[in-house]
């Protein structure tokens, strides 16, 4: 029977070996590279928005309303005379930032709750999972919409609403992983060696179980951006006049017969963003769990 340290070291060595095998090939993964390029470009655009946007996104020039695309305004102007292209660029700042932050809170909260439920087990686990079941009954969009309504429109509400609804998925995933991990040899060995629960959870179990949660988070970002854009479409999201892709789509829907690009282009940008994030997410998930079949 190996010593606790030996079991732990052996396990870590095997993990490191499989990870380095996959790292060596990452730059050859076509979709991963495409994802990195697209997301990188978008982040760049968002960061440099003040510099590269030709016009102020919220200044209204009613005399220039609803102009077709031209040399001066590459994508035309909206009903308030605002340059569509500039709004698109500034919108990237909003949607990307909010999307990324919106994923963090449920990721952290859900993972902690799931880890506790999985590790402690027993009545704590049963109660927590019942609560999860209750939350699961509420359709994502219904709850987010209602919560944003209740909390009032605006960025903070979006974070709270999405967090309140999304944490359950992370809880379920992490709980499942912790239950499996808890029975592994290295955990038993560490406990026999006298390691405290907290230290064991934080320093040894967590790094091994988080990969599944991270993989889910990658697809969750896409879902959250969809939700933010949908909220914007419904008029419940980021408050006007801030440029946001969803509200741009709803603004443009009115003029679909004359200026169809106003409602189409922001949607296309969302599609490209999602594709980029999906590819990036797939690539990262491949790196994190090379031996699992997707």
């Amino acid at each position: 029977m190996t010593t606790p340290t030996a079991a732990l070291v052996g396990f870590k060595q095997r993990r490191r070996a499989s990870r380095s095998r996959s790292l060596r090939a990452w730059y050859r993964n076509g979709s991963l590279m495409a994802g990195i390029v697209i997301v990188g470009l978008l982040v760049l655009v968002a960061v440099l928005a003040p510099v590269i946007a030709p016009y102020d996104p919220i200044a209204q020039h009613l005399e220039q309303a609803l102009e077709s695309p031209s040399a001066a305004h590459w994508l035309g102007t909206d009903k308030y005379g605002r340059d569509v292209l500039s709004r698109l660029i500034w919108g990237a700042r909003v949607d990307l930032r909010v999307g990324f932050l919106a994923v963090l809170i449920p990721f952290v909260v859900g993972s902690v709750i799931g880890a506790i439920a999985g590790y402690v087990g027993g009545i704590v686990d049963t109660v927590l999972m019942r609560i999860v079941d209750v939350f699961f009954a509420f359709p994502f969009y219904v709850m987010v919409i209602v919560l944003v309504f209740v909390l009032g429109a605006g960025e903070t509400s979006i974070y709270l609403a999405i967090a309140a609804v999304s944490w359950v998925s992370y809880a379920k995933i992490v709980r499942g992983e912790v239950i499996v991990a808890r029975q592994q040899d290295y955990v038993v060995a560490a406990r026999l060696g006298g390691m405290s629960h907290t230290r064991l959870l934080v320093r040894h179990i967590a790094p091994n179980v988080m990969s599944q949660a991270v993989i889910y988070a990658m697809s969750d970002i896409v879902m959250d951006i969809m939700a933010i854009v949908t909220l914007g479409y419904l008029g419940l999201g980021i408050e006007p006049p801030t440029a946001e892709w969803g509200s741009m789509i709803v603004d443009g829907q009115e003029f679909i017969t004359t200026q169809w690009q106003q409602t189409t282009i922001p949607g296309l940008v969302v599609v490209v963003t999602s594709l980029g994030l999906s590819w990036l997410g797939d690539g990262i998930s491949d790196l994190l769990s090379p031996d699992r079949r997707r």
Partner: protein, 319 residues
Amino acid sequence: MLHRLRFIPGRLLQAVPVAFGVTIIVFFLSHLLPGNAALALLGERATKASVAALTEQLGLDRPLWEQYFRFLGQIVHGNLGTSLTYQLPVGQLVLQAVPVTLSLLGLALVMSLVISIPLASLAASRPNRAGDLFARGFTLLGQGMPQFWVGIMLILLLAVNVRAFPVGGYGDGAGAHLYFLFLPALTLAIAMSPTIIRSLRASMIGVLESEYVGTAKSKGAAGMPLFRDHVLRNAAIPTVSIIGVNLGYLVGGSLVIEKVFALPGLGSLMVNAIFSRDFPTIQGVTLFVAIFVVVVGILTDVVYTMLDPRVDLAGGTTP
């Protein structure tokens, strides 16, 4: 088979605490509003009288637990409150809107199967060839497009540029309903298909490599009979489960689609209630939808049990 359906009462019983939890959450939604709930609900232009009336109607001046039980009692009697906007019982409004939403969901499900089954079969029978790559590309794209935007694009392409379909509304009579539901259902189907295709393709690949398909071929089976009796009957099983799990998400998506196409279903009811701050309606619709999702979950288990004779949900799978 009836014997295997004996899990239903147990599952219904399990659903009860979940239902309770749902009611608690829905109830406390109103109490998340800071300050005077009635005032916040009615907005700044409310008169003192209307604030007082609403306070009394919602029983906001009573202790919390008393309010909750009053709320529960009302629900059990089918009383979901009265809509502030329409001055009609919320229950009535919900019941009027439900057929529209159900028709939309039903049509969307049928359409998504029509799209998904052939694509998944094509992909599974020739993995990594043109058909498969197309199916996977469609899946990737389908998941990346905002549902409501797909709806708008369909309107642009098929209702504005080419006057094939109406821009919105519901029409009169069953035939007209179908016509008006076509584009919204197609939008939802495009949203649903990626999940179905991905699951079906994976399970089909597994089934196609199985021994029993080999046995069927050794009996001379091929083409449609092979596909229908052997491949699909087995590959569909995990997919049914996946559809059931995703149905909640889809119901939410359908609500937004209703707004895009101006369909008088639960979605429009909800969204309009939000904008007119009609809280009883919001509460009623949310409650209904949540319970609906729980019921659908049980129905999914029933269908799953019917499809797979090995499954015994009351006592674990038969070895």
